[in-house]
Subunit: 232 residues, 2 copies
Amino acid sequence: MNIFIAHINGQIAELTSEESWHCTKVLRMKAGESIHLIDGTGNFYEGTLSVVNEKKSIATIQSGPKQQNKHPYYLHLAIAPTKNIDRMEWMVEKAVETGIDEITFVRCKNSERTVIKEERLIKIAESAVKQSLQAYIPKINGLTNFNDVIKSDADLKFIAHCEENHKKTLKDFELTNRKSLVLIGPEGDFTREEIDMAKKEGFSEISLGQNRLRTETAGLFVVSNFSIIHLK
Amino acid sequence: MNIFIAHINGQIAELTSEESWHCTKVLRMKAGESIHLIDGTGNFYEGTLSVVNEKKSIATIQSGPKQQNKHPYYLHLAIAPTKNIDRMEWMVEKAVETGIDEITFVRCKNSERTVIKEERLIKIAESAVKQSLQAYIPKINGLTNFNDVIKSDADLKFIAHCEENHKKTLKDFELTNRKSLVLIGPEGDFTREEIDMAKKEGFSEISLGQNRLRTETAGLFVVSNFSIIHLK
C-alpha cells in the first residue's frame, strides 16, 4: 500500500511536489485512481486523484479523517550525531518505524560531527512514517547545543551515559501520558561536566543494560523501551 | 579498550590469524604489552603478548577467566534475509550488541534472497561482540529451509506475522530461563500455509505492535524485547 503526504484543505488534498513526482513519475498513477493519504499530524484519508502532475497533484477526499491510534507517551530523543552519518540515518529510520515523536541532534563536548543535513533526515523520517503505515511525522530538529537541549521542556528528563554507578532503568519510571526527554551521548560519551549540568537541570541518570551500545544502537534501544513498555 | 578473540589453552592464549593481523598491522602492538582477551564462550582474560606475529600471536594469561554476566534466557532468532543484504548486516550487528544467542536465516516461500555470505555475517557478529564488551559469540547459521527451522528445538516458539488477528505480545510469556525461538518473515510476509505449519509445530503467533516494521527492524525489536523485559 502506497501512502502519500498531502496538505488537506476541506475535501481537497494537495500532494507535495515530491509526492506528486513519486506519484506520477515512479508509480505512474492516473487521474481517477484512488489513493491513500496522510496529513502528517495523525490523520489517514482516502481520496481519488483528480489532477495528476509531477509538480502538483490533487486528490478529492472520499473518506477520512481516520485518526492513527497514537502511543500513550511523548518521546523526545536528543542524541549526539555519530561521525558516520549512515548510522544516524538508519537510527532515524528505525526510530520512526518503532515510534518516536521528536529527535534533536546534540552538539556535545566530545561530538565528532558538527554538521547535520537536516533536510535529508526529515525525508528519511517521512518515508519511514509512510512505510510503517503511520500518520504522524515526528519533529526532527537540527544540531543544538547541549546547554540549550538540557533546558528543553519535558515532564521527565533522562541521561544515558557509560559511567559506572548504580542507575535505574526506564522501567523504573512512570512514562505513560508524560513527555520524556532522553539524552544519548557521543562515541566519546558525555563529559563529567555535562552529566553534572544535566543533573542540575533535573535529569535522572539511566542505564541501558550491561552491554556497551554504540550511540545509534543506544538511541534506538531507548525508543524500543518506550514502545515495548506500552505494548498491548 | 581493544578485545581480542583467542583460543585459550591453560595459561596460553593463541590469537586467531585475523586477530593477530589486527593486533600487529593495525594496532602495531608489541611483545610485552598487555591485552584483553575473550574465548567466545563467555570468558574474559587479561594477558601479556609474548609472540607478536601477523599470522599467529600468543599471549600469556595474567588473570581470568572472568565470566560474562549472561542474560537469563536463550534467544534464537530465525529471520528471512532481506533483498538488501546491508539491512541484514546491520541487524546482526545491532542484535549482537543488544544481546542474542543464535541467529538462523530462513528460506521462506516469499524470500527475495536465496544467498547469504555466512562468513561475513560471522565476522560482523564477532566485532559487535568485542565492541559491546561481551565474551559470548552468538551462533550464526546459514540459510535453512522453513520446514527445518520450525522443527528446531526450543521451549517456546513464536512466529511474528502481519496478518490481522488477536495476538499476544512477548510480554505475555514467561521467557526467563527458557530457550525461545522467534520467527520473522520476509518482506512479503509468511504465507498462510507457512503460518499454519508453524502453528502445528507449536508456534504461538505474536504481535510486535501496531506499526508495520521492516523485516530487519522486526528482528531487532524482538531482541530488544527480550533485553528490556530482563533489564535490571
